[in-house]
């Protein structure tokens, strides 16, 4: 059921806004947009790493929502319904651009190189040295396929079975790509930290 949250300074609950939006109420549309715009836009931005494109996709997601709002029956949470719509809008755009949504299950580097790196000399842990800005930049630098899985799972909280359904891969593939995305992020964060240490 839709959460009975107060919108617009306490004048309108989300469920009331939804019912009024179904009648074409402009204020109700605006209230729903204000409530959910950050979540949708952040999702689009994280998955595309491009602000202009993310704004276009946000616009498209909300337009689809408002066109279909008459069909919303409340079987799931409104936010879940909107979020799923936004994810599909982004994935469709990535498919149109022929960008890999889920990369083929081949390693980024040879197993030997991976072993050397992981079993090599002592290295400092990331704990306590990673802030939001750093991880944000590292995510932007991920290849698109890895970024998609990482954003859907670690940022947005989708389970692997949901991701598998959304992107059309197996659960095992989703887990494998997530792991590779995290490993790549680990490398990026350590490189960034080393570069920062050199300048000080």
């Amino acid at each position: 059921m839709a959460t009975a949250r107060k919108l617009q300074g306490g004048e309108l609950s989300e469920s009331e806004a939804i019912e009024r939006a179904k009648q074409g109420d402009a204020d109700a549309f605006e209230a729903l947009y204000d409530l959910h715009k950050r979540r949708v836009y952040s999702l689009c931005l994280r998955m595309t790493a491009n602000a202009a494109e993310a704004e276009d996709l946000t616009q498209e997601a909300f337009l689809q929502l408002f066109r279909k709002i008459g069909t919303f029956r409340g079987e799931s949470a409104f936010s879940t319904w909107l979020h799923r719509m936004a994810v599909n809008v982004v994935l469709m755009r990535l498919r149109k651009k022929n960008l890999p949504i889920v990369p083929l299950d081949d390693p980024l580097e040879s197993e030997e190189e991976t072993s050397k790196k992981e079993l090599g000399g002592p290295d400092q842990k990331l704990a306590g040295s990673v802030d939001r800005m750093q991880i944000q930049r590292a995510v932007e630098a991920l290849p698109p396929g890895y970024r998609t899985i990482f954003v859907l799972h670690d940022v947005e909280g989708y389970e692997h079975n949901e991701i598998a359904n959304l992107v059309g891969c197996s659960i095992g593939n989703s887990k494998s790509q997530l792991h590779k995305a995290r490993m790549k992020l680990r490398d990026l964060l350590k490189i960034s930290r080393a570069a920062k240490a050199e300048t000080h």
Partner: protein, 208 residues
């Protein structure tokens, strides 16, 4: 269990479900312990990226334009911008402002059509594009009117006007710098359309 064996199985177990043997390995192995710790930090920090960004007002303005064009929305009842007495006439000052903005669209349209003309003629037409600066005093009047009867909307209108004025200034600068830049011309038209939408919304409220 070796480190290689542990790291091969790590994708399956990193978020839980590890066996006792696997747990014993990474807890006793410094390299694997550090790896698990790092991946956990990354996963935990990822959540801080959720919902932190805000789209520009352009997005909502574009959505509104599309919804109105598709006939999906109409102005709501209540929340009139000015008190009932003298409501109709006291907001009529918005009409000439909206008309001025529409004339600006016409000027920019003419400007776009004339971009192939000699520079001297283009320079003469350029002047109307700066009309955005002259309506700031009117923006203040609009905000005062909004604040009277819909104070909870005032901040939203103010933010939208601030952003759309900045958008207009940027678009004007780009158009002046390169009169042949089609994207700059289009951006200027869109910027005026967005500002017109804000005034239309305020006018819609006042006519209830």
């Amino acid at each position: 269990m070796t480190c290689r064996e542990f790291q091969e199985i790590l994708p399956e177990i990193v978020d839980g479900g590890q066996s006792i043997e696997q747990e014993m390995h990474w807890k006793s192995c410094q390299e694997c312990s550090d790896l698990v710790a790092d991946l956990t930090v990354i996963s935990q920090q990822a959540i801080t990226l959720r919902g932190i960004d805000t789209p520009s007002p352009r997005v909502w303005n574009s959505i509104q334009i599309a919804l109105r064009q598709e006939g999906l929305i109409h102005a709501s009842d209540g929340l009139a911008v000015v008190p009932a007495l003298g409501r109709r006439w006291s907001m009529q000052w918005l009409v000439p402002i909206a008309a001025t903005l529409l004339l600006s669209f016409g000027a920019v349209d003419y400007y776009m059509a004339s971009r192939q003309q000699p520079q001297a003629q283009v320079a003469e037409i350029r002047q109307p594009a700066t009309v955005a600066d002259s309506v700031n005093a009117e923006d203040s009047r609009l905000l005062e009117a909004v604040a009277v009867n819909a104070p909870n909307m005032r901040a939203t209108y103010e933010a939208n006007l601030r952003d759309v004025n900045a958008y207009i200034r940027d678009a004007e600068d780009s158009a002046k710098n390169d009169p042949t830049d089609e994207e700059a011309q289009q951006a200027l038209v869109e910027a005026y359309a967005q500002k017109n939408m804000i005034y239309e919304m305020a006018l819609d409220r006042s006519l209830r």
